[in-house]
């Protein structure tokens, strides 16, 4: 973790917080039915839940309730006092809500699911929860668009499928199934276990934190139900640990180790076929199962998952592909090839990762390894999508997919389905590939760009959503703009402009992006050779300006989420980050968002200077009104005045489209022309009259007097208030560049960009790292992401912001920097107070992560956030310590006895409980990556065990609470002792 200071996320910002809290509301609606499931329990729980509920709800409420915000803002004291009251109110309200829950949730479920009749309460164990319906919805969308055709067969074959296909109609059927399943009694008993457990809880304080878990757990019950049905022997386990599906895996492995029994296989199959079978499970089975049939099945099954879900596990998939048996590789390969065909992004990500993960192998084996070969195949561009496949093939393919998955079934798990589609060879997964692929880059340079770089006004307008000429600001320059483009097109001989010719050729698929990334990385390497930071920065800027020549292009930033084309690198904004020998640097990149970067036409280049008049005099605040008007006209006239009116006339006649494009010639231009017309005559200089002569001409007027003292005072005041007055240090330009508030930077760069007026313009940033192995960071990112989603799912309001890592090779990559959504200047007392909660939430989140991942580098909190806080009124010393609670941290939380501090500890507990419930999901990520890896984080043999131990599966919740207290205590102690490792459970951690 050499560079953890940049690679790990910051504590969250309040702004982000608000947005983050939106979704839970929705999910709550979906989860309500779990209360309905057993009203008794719900009612019983009402009282005990009070505290928990209030904790759950305070965030959304706080953000929704302006009054409360005001309370917070009034003063910290008030805040502390008000807080419990307000919470109380909320709680009461919540209680109210709670009692109303049944009808409400009934309604809700009615909307989503047609089966919320009285039956559920009678058959709690089989209640299809909304969660389930959600899953089914999703899987239907992605996997089974052809379901109608498919499901009847399924329903005949396997109960699970039928369950999925139509819930309402099969209620009766299901009860049959239930009776068929011998596990039913177990479930009920388990249920009662739970109930009794719950009834125990009210007196526990730790309960608060558990409530959300439980609700969500209940909402997940369908999972459990279905799983339980397959493993009666597991019921004795604690419910918490049971939440995950992993035990099944063990069972399966065991079973397979024995001999394959059809009945057990069918459970497995049912599981596989169920909608609950998600990517995470698939990956886990793929990794753990030694049965080629299972592997092959899962390999097929991968096709059915949403692309994004599967993509999350790309490092794992590829690592398995590179380092595991041939069977696993063969199972994954079709899916990888399919996705590579479909997506340039996927292809490149795969190629990069394959390179990176192969690098640990011995050099001799590396060349012939599977990973290297696949990489070569991907990069060879042979995996082009077939453009001739049209939509109706799409349909077919889905079909094919589901078929083939069944085929896989037969292959691996066979038997009870007894159905074979002979006409669908196993190959289908690889061949039909084209389903998801977009039309491909072929038609890419679409009609818009056809006319070449100087399209007529019409074409140009279509290309960009907003026509430059329609913008008022552009008015003044429109003379040049339209004239230029029209003229340019007219002037350009078809042969002489290679661009025009080229548009008809199909660009190589991966080339542009590869070259783009290569250029960026090469810049990094070259920078490393320069001695001083100033030289590095200067070189960086000039190198980027060369790169700029080649933009816009069909290239994108791999760290970004949205589809876009990179159009410009504001090269002067780039900054070399502090580092001695290596030269990581941050660049800002202007992009235009688009539908699909592969198929949307690449934006047309707009010359740098085109922006100029847009920010001419009218945008700059001029001293005097008179000055403004004169300045304005002179500004806009500037470019044009070079031509005499005769010349102008000449140019008009050559500009054919002039007449059609009335709009381009706004009044100011015409006015300008007139001015210029007069300009031919002697006293033309309307401006010069204003300049020197003005003194005499104005003499007659009343003189205006100003006090010298005022000027001097204004100067000092302005200096004090201008944020940009801190002087740029040429030795360390990054400091200023990074301190600038993000919004400010965006505004500034947007103003200065010729593309800035486009509505789909965005500013992104990326840190390019050369000479650093980011694979470990990528792993950390995945773990953080997983924990984040677990906490989201379990509705624990822990806030973390993992930020994207893209590994390009074993010693290079890109990082998405976290932007300081909150600036220093916004960070007033008010904001600070409202940020307190967010602070606590993210602090707890990162504390947990630090603990779980044993982050030794204390820079887990990103510098961005670090300096936000360090320049806050309280001057928190973030950069010097991480999880370790400094006294400032504690101060912010209102002291050791403060509500916030208790909240902090509670959050940690909640988070830990949630995390351990899904421990396998986290462990899996790390475990798979350990394969064949030489990463330092895997040094020693006990990495996984150590990680597992830190989840403390064996502890009761009370014990867990004790552990949290201990952890916090330990870190408190480190404030004074400065000892880092005061944790009891320090082992060889992974970070």
């Amino acid at each position: 973790m050499a560079d953890a200071d940049v690679s790990l996320p910051p504590l969250h910002s309040p702004v982000a917080m608000e947005t983050d809290l939106g979704p839970p509301q929705v999910s709550r609606v979906l989860q309500m039915p779990s209360h309905v499931i057993d009203p008794e329990v719900a009612l019983k729980a009402c009282q005990e839940v009070l505290l928990k509920v209030r904790l759950q709800n305070q965030d959304p409420d706080q953000n929704q309730d302006p009054d409360q915000n005001q309370d917070f803002s009034e003063s910290s004291q008030d805040f502390v006092q008000d807080y419990p009251d307000s919470l109380q109110d909320q709680t009461q309200q919540q209680q109210q809500n709670h009692s109303d829950l049944n009808p409400d949730s009934d309604q809700d479920t009615d909307q989503t699911l047609d089966s919320t009749d009285p039956e559920p309460s009678l058959e709690p164990s089989l209640e299809p929860s909304p969660d389930c319906s959600k899953t089914s919805e999703r899987s239907e969308q992605t996997l089974d668009s052809t379901d109608p055709e498919q499901s009847p067969e399924d329903s005949l074959e396997c109960a699970q499928t039928s369950e999925r296909s139509d819930q309402t109609s099969e209620h009766s059927e299901r009860s049959d199934q239930t009776s068929e399943r011998s596990e039913c009694p177990d479930q009920t008993s388990e249920r009662s276990d739970q109930t009794s457990e719950r009834s125990e809880r009210p007196d526990q304080t730790s309960e608060r934190s558990e409530r959300p878990d439980q609700t969500s757990e209940r909402s997940e019950r369908p999972d459990q139900t279905s799983e339980r049905s397959e493993r009666p022997d597991q019921t004795s386990e604690r419910p918490d640990s049971r939440g995950a599906r992993w035990p099944i895996a063990e069972v399966v492995v065991e079973e397979e180790e024995e001999s394959v029994q059809s009945s057990k296989q069918s459970w497995l199959l049912r599981l596989f076929e169920s909608k609950l079978f998600d990517v995470s499970m698939a990956i886990s089975y793929l990794y753990k199962s030694k049965e080629p049939g299972v592997q092959a099945y899962i390999g097929n099954r991968l096709f059915s998952f949403p692309d994004a879900d599967a993509e999350f596990y790309l490092p794992q998939l590829l690592s398995m592909y590179v380092h595991m048996d041939a069977e696993v590789g063969d199972a994954i390969r079709p899916y990888l090839l399919h996705r590579c065909r479909g997506s340039i992004t996927f292809s490149l990500l795969s190629a990069w990762l394959l390179g990176a993960y192969s690098s640990d192998m011995h050099i001799s084996t590396q060349r012939h390894s599977r990973g290297t070969k696949l990489r070569r195949l991907i990069l060879s561009e042979e995996l082009k999508p077939n453009n001739h496949n049209s939509n109706h093939n799409n349909h077919h393919h889905h079909h094919g997919n589901s078929h083939s998955s069944h085929h896989g079934n037969n292959h691996g798990c066979s038997h009870d389905t007894g159905q074979t589609h002979v006409n669908k060879p196993t190959q289908t997964q690889a061949e039909p590939s084209l389903t998801f692929c977009k039309p491909g880059p072929g038609p890419g340079p679409g009609p818009g760009s056809g006319p070449g770089p100087g399209p007529g006004p019409g074409a140009g307008d279509e290309l960009f959503l907003a026509s430059p000429s329609r913008r008022t600001h552009q008015r003044s320059k429109s003379d040049a703009c339209t004239a230029t483009s029209v003229h340019g097109a007219a002037l350009r001989r078809s042969g002489s402009n290679p661009r025009v010719e080229h548009l008809h050729e199909e660009p190589e698929r991966l080339r542009p992006q590869r070259e783009f990334v290569k250029s960026l990385l090469c810049i990094g390497k070259r920078l490393a050779t320069l001695p001083t930071k100033e030289q590095k920065t200067q070189r960086l800027i000039s190198e980027l300006s060369l790169l700029n020549h080649k933009l816009p292009a069909r290239v994108w930033l791999p760290t970004a989420d949205h589809q876009h084309h990179v159009v410009r690198v504001p090269n002067t904004q780039a900054v070399v980050l502090n580092s001695k020998d290596k030269a990581p640097y941050i660049i800002y990149v202007e992009v235009l968002e688009c539908e699909s970067f592969e198929t949307s036409p690449v934006p047309v280049r707009i010359p740098e200077t085109r922006i100029r008049t847009a920010r001419s005099a009218e945008n700059l605040d001029c001293g005097s009104v008179g000055g403004a008007s004169v300045g304005g006209s002179s500004e806009t006239g500037g470019g044009a005045s070079v031509m005499t009116s005769e010349h102008r006339a000449g140019s008009f006649s050559t500009v054919q489209n002039y007449d059609n494009d009335d709009e381009a010639w706004a009044t100011d231009d015409i006015g300008q022309l007139q001015v210029e017309g007069e300009g031919q005559t002697s006293s033309s200089d309307n401006i010069s009259q204003f300049s020197v002569d003005s003194i005499t001409s104005l003499e007659s007027k009343e003189p205006v007097f100003i006090a010298a003292g005022d000027i001097r005072r204004r100067l000092s005041e302005n200096l004090a208030h201008t944020p940009t007055t801190f002087r740029r240090d040429p030795e360390d330009p990054s400091a200023v560049a990074l301190k600038e508030p993000w919004q400010e930077k965006v505004r500034r760069i947007r103003e200065g960009s010729p593309y800035g007026h486009l509505p789909n313009w965005r500013l992104l940033s990326v840190i390019v790292k050369c000479g650093d192995d980011l694979r470990q960071e990528l792993l950390a990112y995945q773990v953080l992401k997983q924990l984040q989603s677990i906490w989201q799912q379990e509705r624990v309001p822990l806030w973390i912001k993992p930020y994207k890592i893209v590994v390009m090779s074993s010693d290079s990559g890109m990082i998405e920097p976290v932007l300081n959504a909150v600036s220093l200047h916004q960070f007033t007392t008010e904001a600070f107070l409202s940020a307190q909660r967010n602070f606590v939430q993210s602090c707890a989140g990162y504390s947990l992560i630090c603990y779980l991942l044993q982050v030794k580098d204390r820079h887990i909190i990103h510098i961005d956030f670090g300096f936000i806080l360090s320049s806050s009124p309280r001057n928190l010393g973030f950069e010097t310590s991480a999880f370790k609670l400094t006294s400032e941290f504690v101060d912010v939380m209102g002291g050791l006895d403060g509500d916030m501090f208790i909240y902090y500890k509670m959050l940690m507990l909640q988070g830990l409980i949630a995390a351990r419930k899904h421990m396998e999901k986290v462990l899996q990520i790390v475990e798979i990556m350990q394969q064949g890896s030489h990463l330092p984080c895997f040094h020693g043999s006990s990495t996984i065990r150590g990680l597992k131990e830190r989840f403390h599966m064996s502890l009761t919740e009370e014990q867990l609470q004790g552990l949290v207290e201990q952890l916090v205590d330990g870190s408190m102690r480190s404030i004074t002792t400065k000892l880092y490792d005061s944790f009891q459970y320090v082992t060889n951690g992974i970070m």
Binding site: E515, E534, V642
Partner: protein, 689 residues
């Protein structure tokens, strides 16, 4: 016998007068200058002619010797020659093309040399015939265009450009060259642009192309519609503009390098030590030796680009690592399908080069920096007329730049810091130290440095008033931008203030001599108004509050100069005379400065008296200044932040006419016959087909 033969052989070479020994081609020329149609007896005459090596001298002298009556007689044949030349340009056989190009060149030259007094129409008639002229020229231009844009030999392209340069410069005054009217109608602008946009052709022909363009733009600039002006002003293709920028950049860099080499040569030995000891006399000599012929043509091209094309401004700031720019392709991604972003990233070879240029001065550069360095060299010595013109043009270009919003934006961009080492004139009172530790600053600092440097170094008897005016105006324009955009530049304004005050001092002390030639009040007014800008609007652009105090300190310290100036302008304005009006403007402009002086001087004196200090320290004075602002009232002067925008016409028209004339002469001289009759070229083509 053998002796005679030898003699004959010798004679053959030296004299073409002996008929039997004439070259074949000469004989053929003679046939053309005979009455009869040369093709009458020999139908393949023209074919054969273009297979012969051209004898330019003979052809030209022949044309020259033709007198009025003969013209009538042989006009048809010359027309035919011209016609066939044009046709031969389309030949596949490259030798014919080469010969045709050279013949055309000779035709244009010869005709003009002959008909110095004749009108353009006569020339057109003689070469092409009135009725066919339009068609002939259209054909010619089209052929040239396709040759320039085609895939053909580079030497051929080069020859085409030479022909065009030759055609453009046949007259001293480009606007009198009536043939160019056809070049206006049949534009080769696009061909020139294409040459500039392509990296390899730019490397070989960029210079000629740029010079040609600069000249064409100046054809009847002020009288008629020049399509080249129109077209140049709207070019927005960045690779092309960048290409143009690179050609200019390279030419200027080359000049700077040559200068530096010479300078080092001179500094090297005993001589330099001697100069520093003996003084100015020798330095002047050394300077003479240092002078490298300025490159007015390139400067003119830069001017036209900056002045006409608003997109070109961006090119000025286009920074490149100082590498061989010709090697790196600037073609946009989409142009080369195989290497959209260049397979070898730019400067990859630099990586392999063990000796990476780590000299901070060599790190990054851009056209503007190179231009500033060039200007600093050119401005050193303005005695020579060429240099004076060059310096003037440099200042005009800087004026255009300073007026441009976009240029101002990047000049003041805090993220674009450079170390710009300007060349400084060695002077008696200061050592010529090459300041290696120039801080890295926004580019505008370099511009200001250059202006200050000019102000300080040109206070001489032969006062370059015009240059001074421009210089001060440039500063004013930059200040206006800073004021408007509230940019607080961290610049040592003190140097500027003291330079300006010294300038005023110089004007005062040389009042009588200067007034004989110049309106010194105009300059004085501009200078005083610069101070007024600082005084009235200092709050909007000064970098520190201290700097405002320092301004007052400087004014008070040098109050004698301002007092004297006031006395002088008051005296002149009370007299009747041509200077009454301008002088009175200066008196009005001085109101605030005088108020400051009158306000603070007594305060400082009393402070000294009260504290019994004879000589106040700077800090003490500043303290007095600080504590006495509030009792000082200033008058708000209007229009301080307004300026007269640069316009070429009518003020500069004469200058540019002269400049273009001088460039034309120069180019004509350089497009010598030698470069045209390239043996290499013929060798190259003799192997082809």
């Amino acid at each position: 016998m053998s002796q005679v033969e030898k003699k004959a052989g010798l004679l053959r070479r030296t004299s073409s007068s002996k008929k039997p020994l004439k070259e074949k081609v000469v004989l053929m020329y003679d046939e053309i200058f005979a009455k009869e149609d040369p093709a009458k007896n020999n139908p393949r005459f023209w074919d054969e002619l273009f297979l012969m090596k051209v004898n330019l001298e003979y052809l030209e002298s022949k044309l020259e010797s033709v007198d009025g009556e003969e013209v009538q007689r042989i006009q048809d044949n010359i027309n035919a020659l011209f016609h066939h030349c044009v046709q031969a340009l389309a030949e596949e056989h490259q030798i014919k093309v080469v010969n045709a190009l050279q013949t055309l060149c000779a035709l244009f030259r010869g005709v003009h040399q002959k008909n110095k007094s004749a009108s353009g129409f006569d020339i057109i008639n003689m070469l092409m015939g009135f009725d066919k002229a339009e068609q002939r020229m259209k054909d010619l231009m089209e052929r040239l265009d396709s040759l320039l844009c085609g895939e053909g030999s580079e030497s051929l392209k080069s020859l085409c450009l030479k022909l065009l340069l030759c055609l453009v410069t046949v007259t001293d005054n480009i606007s009198q060259n009536t043939i160019l009217e056809y070049v206006m109608i049949n534009s080769i602008f696009e061909a020139i642009l294409q040459i500039l946009s392509d990296a390899s052709s730019r490397g070989q022909h960029g210079y000629d192309a740029v010079v040609l363009l600069a000249l064409l733009v100046n054809y009847r600039k002020y009288e008629s519609v020049n399509p080249y002006i129109v077209k140049l002003s709207i070019v927005d293709d960045e690779p092309t503009l960048d290409g143009m920028g690179m050609v200019l950049h390279q030419a200027l860099t080359e000049y700077n390098r040559q200068y530096k080499d010479k300078e080092e040569e001179n500094q090297g030995g005993f001589f330099s030590t001697l100069t520093s000891m003996v003084g100015n006399m020798f330095i002047a000599d050394a300077e003479e030796k240092l002078s490298v012929q300025t490159n007015e043509a390139i400067l003119l091209a830069l001017y036209e680009a900056v002045h006409l094309n608003r997109n070109f401004i961006a090119v000025l700031a286009q920074s490149h690592p100082e590498l061989d720019m010709a090697a790196t392709s600037t073609t946009p991604t989409s142009t080369t399908p195989t290497t959209p972003l260049g397979t070898t990233p730019p400067a990859l070879d630099m990586m392999n080069n063990p000796e990476l240029p780590l000299d901070p001065n060599l790190q990054t550069s851009n056209l503007l920096i190179t231009f500033l360095k060039y200007a600093s060299i050119v401005m050193q010595d303005t005695k020579d007329e060429h240099r004076l013109n060059s310096a003037k043009l440099c200042l005009i270009i800087l004026t255009c730049i300073a007026e441009d919003q976009y240029a101002d934006a990047f000049l003041h961009d805090d993220n674009m810091n450079f170390r710009v080492t300007l060349h400084r004139m060695p002077m008696r009172h200061r050592k010529k130290t090459i300041d290696k530790n120039v801080p890295s600053r926004p580019l505008v600092c370099a511009v200001l440095d250059l202006m200050v440097e000019f102000i300080v170094t040109h206070m001489m008897k032969d006062f370059p008033m015009d240059l001074y005016l421009r210089c001060v105006q440039i500063i004013h324009k930059l200040l206006c931008y800073q004021k408007k955009c509230r940019i607080r530049l961290h610049y040592t304004w003190r140097e500027l203030w003291s330079a300006l005050i010294n300038l005023l001092k110089f004007l005062l002390s040389n009042e009588t001599t200067l007034l004989a030639k110049h309106n010194i009040f105009q300059l004085a007014l501009l200078v005083v108004n610069l101070f007024n800008m600082f005084i009235t609007y200092g709050d909007t652009f000064l970098p520190t509050s201290n700097s405002y105090d320092e301004l007052y300190y400087e004014i008070v310290r040098m109050h004698q100069v301002f007092d004297n100036l006031y006395c002088m302008v008051l005296r002149v304005s009370t007299n009747t005379g041509q200077w009454k009006e301008p002088a009175s403007k200066v008196t009005h402009a001085l109101v605030n400065i005088r108020a400051i002086i009158n306000h603070f001087n007594p305060k400082i004196e009393s402070y000294a008296a009260v504290n019994h200090i004879s000589q106040l320290s700077e800090e003490q004075v500043l303290e007095v200044v600080r504590s006495n602002y509030d009792t000082l009232t200033l008058k708000l002067q209007d229009g301080l932040d307004q300026f007269e925008r640069y316009s070429e016409q009518p003020k500069e028209a004469a200058f540019f006419k002269e400049l273009v004339r001088s460039i034309s002469l120069n180019v004509r001289k350089n497009v010598s016959l030698n470069t045209l009759s390239q043996d290499i070229l013929l060798k190259e083509f003799s192997t082809i087909s």
